[in-house]
Subunit: 336 residues, 2 copies
């Protein structure tokens, strides 16, 4: 064990700087009209992906993203020590059934749409400690499976309110490895549950923004950095409204992130698609990070990125029982 | 980073031996008629626990077990660095809402009824690496919330088949800390997903036994131990039938665990309660471990225990779509 301080506040420092050595993303047909169309490895023509149900299609996307990340890194199945994954479906069946396809251990994780950063934090922690050489962190979501599980059957044709977002159909994953090539994971800030009392299940951005602000501010404090130290402060799926709120909340505490804050949900769809507040779902930040962002980091456009995915920890049961929406955000600092 | 080998096969060795310094369990009224009646910290008279819904009662049990574990260790909230928790409800709402009560970070984990050992493995890994001083690992379940989510509304009064088990109403948790007092967590074996094609959702024991056998055998191989090295090989909730199967499967591979294998599901209820195969649910192993077993370890009755909780990674949707039941088991080796 090193004698160097490995934690400050809620941030764990990875002194051996585990690397993201490869990454991959699969996205749906609607998503391919936006930036993902140019950066995802596979863009589906049919969101059923040759399967008989939406859930099976979601699982196949996730398994494909995992396989592709392994393959693109020049690895084989035996080179991977563990899969860290979870998803929005009840009992994280996409991740569990995807894990069935692989002959390495599986640790199921779930923090809703912050699952990507949670999995990356855990994977980096394991690699940094020398427990393992290589982990895969991955997650995904599917618009149609999320709609029928969380909201209404698509067949009902319900109208969406203006504060709503659109669940991204897509999956993304990356290999976190020891060694000295690739994008460094420098540290990770573990989030706390924040609940500001929002009960509107159509307004995830407003519910999640306080959690994002809490983790971003905690990260600045723990690492002694400020917004100008980052090329990009990337949130997961706050959408347009949530992004405005997170800018306000951090500004109130003396940090102006407006110049370099970008939300994956805000950029995933083309503006002309009119998806109200933008994209959401675990697949939102997973696809944008594991295609566009990491590609741009690899080419040197972004040198230092704070990735803070955000999750709304509700279920249809908790909302039905009148509960508000507790939220969380975990962050990892990435550098080239 | 230490130069000593920290991993062999799928087992991570914790050379600094993180300690379980305190533990606590809460159980329901039915459960208090068995061994938990003498060993749990709180035995409920009313399984609603003063709440308006089963789900809220489940959450309150979990939050209480977490609080009690912290309190019994002489700790305060500020002494805890992270909560590792998950549960069987959709979107692990018991854990997420319980986490809302505490002012420390939360990492949501889910591997069904193997969540307890998964959380302990992750907590021990973080403490051992020196990232944190102290983690709480906890989980729980509630018979009534599980029945209506996974099976049928209680009001229907459905008959249970003889291969069925009874979901334990209870929650348990422990504090994993650095230092040199308490029960050591020596290593942890990460499980792989195993699926032998069982589709009967009433026969969890048969579905999960291959995963338990796989992890136990992997553990023996990685650590160079055999059944005689353990005072107890403790599985989570295989029940009577599943326990027979795991004994057969390990025996076929040359390891006879019959002399020291005990299943939490088999011992949690009194035999006269006629619960067919016994107890199940994430709360089953969590309560038995965090009361009876750890008490007996503390008093020196058991010196070396292999705890391998087992989880069935299905959902009502996956079963409804004709899928078989993938299962997993993670193990931690405990020593005094």
């Amino acid at each position: 064990m090193s004698t160097k301080k490995q934690k400050n506040g809620n941030t764990i420092f990875f002194e051996n700087a585990p690397r993201i050595t490869s990454f991959a993303a699969v996205c749906g047909s609607k998503e391919s009209a936006g930036i993902l169309g140019n950066y995802a490895d596979i863009t589906l023509q049919d969101d059923m992906y040759g399967e008989s149900t939406f859930e099976k299609a979601e699982c196949k996307m996730l398994a494909t993203a995992i396989s592709l990340a392994i393959e693109k890194g020049g690895y084989r199945e035996k080179d991977i020590d563990v899969l860290l994954s979870g998803d929005l479906l009840n009992q994280i069946i996409s991740a569990s059934f995807a894990a069935r396809d692989f002959n390495f251990p599986f640790l199921g994780v779930y923090n809703a749409c912050s699952t990507m950063s949670e999995a990356m934090l855990l994977g980096a922690a394991f690699v940094n400690a020398g427990y393992i050489k290589r982990a895969v962190a991955a997650t995904g979501s599917h618009f149609a499976s999320a709609e029928r599980q969380y909201r209404y059957p698509l067949e009902l044709g319900c109208t969406r309110p203006p504060q709503a977002q659109w669940t991204v159909t897509g999956a993304g994953g990356c290999v976190i490895s020891d060694g000295d090539k690739g994008i460094k994971i420098v540290n990770g800030t573990m989030g706390k549950v924040c609940d500001y009392g929002v009960t509107d299940v159509n307004n995830m951005g407003a519910a999640m923004a306080p959690a994002a602000a809490d983790t971003i501010l905690q990260h600045f404090k723990d690492t002694g950095t400020d917004p100008t130290d980052y090329d990009l402060i990337l949130t997961g799926d706050l959408g347009a409204l949530g992004s405005r709120i997170v800018k306000d909340l951090t500004w109130e505490k003396g940090f102006d992130i407006s110049a370099n804050h970008v939300d994956c949900g805000e950029i995933v769809y083309k503006v002309i698609e009119m998806e109200f507040q933008g994209g959401s779902g675990a697949g939102c930040s997973a696809t944008v990070l594991n295609s566009y962002i990491l590609t741009k980091m690899s080419s040197g456009l972004y040198k230092r990125v704070l990735f803070a995915a955000t999750g709304a920890l509700l279920s249809t049961v908790s909302s039905g029982q009148g509960e508000s929406i507790p939220c969380i955000s975990h962050a990892v600092q990435l550098e080239v």
